[in-house]
């Protein structure tokens, strides 16, 4: 884990030149002791804080808080969630992540998920909201085993919809890599650059939609869920099962409409109550 944390390391001079920019790191290891999921290690630094509310859910719940209150160019968050054999963790965020107009550079968020055999992790951050001029690059690397359970979602809303904002310049990049037993089994590179609303207008991209989500579930016998998931999402998106994975993609005209499908979907796939932040 320490190794992963130092990967954020840049030279001291680079750091001081960007000292005004937000930096945050957090790392968690959860293990199972006496039949319960417990924190075995917690590290947090900078603007990224983790809270562990007591909830009726069977596992542990971690809520990430970006005390910088949003992200802009040059900001960098690094987080790692590791769940050891037999343990269960749900990780979410206290609020939507707002990506503010960047004067230079882009915000970077790097997430690493490690799920041991017979362990379960639900990685359910709330939506990212891309403001006009906002720039963000996210990476999500997951390492799982054949008997691991991993549920994850990334969802985004383009523009501050209450203000009727258009995103005519922006950058949104999301890179997922999922390895099972060391082999890359799923990769996804989502990228919307430049005139994001113009780009989103094409039929093959978002068809004018303003919010989208990708959900991935890995568990033994996952394909048995496919029919139920298709019935649940209806015309809001598509679902497919292959190679032990279930992938769901959703499009919606607004963040609110997205939640109307996403919340029931995640509730069905999470197998326990969603953290309270996930309400419609």
């Amino acid at each position: 884990m320490d190794e992963a944390l130092t990967e954020t390391g840049e030279s001291a001079s680079t750091y001081s030149a960007e000292l005004q920019r937000a930096r945050g790191s957090a790392a968690v290891i959860v293990h199972q002791r006496e039949g319960k999921s417990r924190l075995s290690r917690l590290y947090q630094e900078g603007c990224l804080k983790l809270r562990f509310p007591r909830l009726p859910a069977p596992g542990l719940t971690a809520v990430a808080i970006n005390t910088a209150g949003g992200l802009t160019g040059g900001d960098r968050l690094t987080q790692e969630f590791r769940v050891e054999e037999g343990a269960t963790l749900t990780a979410t965020t206290q609020s939507c992540e707002r990506i503010y107009r960047a004067s230079a550079g882009r915000a970077q968020v790097a997430t690493r998920l490690v799920v041991a055999p017979r362990a379960a992790l639900s990685f359910l951050p709330q939506e990212t909201i891309l403001f006009d001029g906002g720039r963000i690059a996210r990476t999500l690397d997951a390492e799982i085993e054949a008997t691991s359970r991993l549920l994850m979602v990334e969802s985004a809303v383009l523009g501050r919809q209450m203000m009727g904002e258009s995103v005519t310049s922006g950058s949104f990049a999301d890179r997922w890599r999922v390895r099972r037993d060391g082999r890359l089994v799923f990769a996804d590179d989502l990228s919307l650059q430049g005139d994001v609303f113009g780009l989103a207008g094409h039929a093959a991209t978002l068809g004018g939609a303003r919010a989208f989500a990708t959900v991935l579930l890995h568990e033994p016998e996952v394909s048995a869920r496919l029919e139920g998931v298709r019935a649940l999402i209806g015309a809001a998106g598509g679902a497919s099962a292959f190679d032990g994975l279930l992938v769901v993609r959703l499009l919606a005209e607004s963040g609110h409409m997205l939640r109307k499908t996403l919340v029931p979907l995640l509730s069905a796939l999470a197998e326990s109550a969603l953290p309270p932040v996930w309400s419609i």
Partner: protein, 219 residues
Amino acid sequence: MSPSLIPLLTLMSPAFPVGAFAYSHGLEYAVRARVVGDADAVLDWIETLLRYGTGWCDLLLFAEAHRAAAEGDEARLAGVGELALALSGSAERRLETIGLGMAFRQASRPWEASPDDGDVAVAYPVAVGQLAGRLGLALDEALAAFAHGFAANLVAAAVRLVPLGQSQAVALLRRLEPTLVELADKAVHSDLDALGSAALFSEISAMRHETQSPRIFRS
């Protein structure tokens, strides 16, 4: 004349026996859902995939496989092979790229039967890029030919689905020429860091096609 021209014309010909005519890459659902309904919409659909979707990503995977094979770098080749399969994000996307890739390997044996042919699943852009690299075919021309094949196959699917007349199909290919040249050239100067797709509805179409009935294409 470029020595690459003749082998590229053969390997990328619509008549090359990989069964490409059986795949619509999700277009069949988009037409049935009335999202794509005329020649202009077909043009926009194909251009979008080439610029911001699977067409662009396939060009990058092709170029990486070409370079790795030309340099004899087996580890790099294995890496792009694994990545290309992993990037195919739904059941029919995998069926399509593996179906085409395996058929291409089989059909291209007269050029080179490589020792690792076997039954190992290979994605289509990697299978073609790898052979083109091993044969020393010029990367820029090979990319242009591959991009043309991607577009021509979607145009052929649109002819059956929309439907379009042959003269409309030819006009579409003419209109696609500048885009094909531009993106093949861009891919020559890019690497895998440039991977990125905005074509979410195309992905959803491929997923929804799985339960479409009746249907005439395998994807």
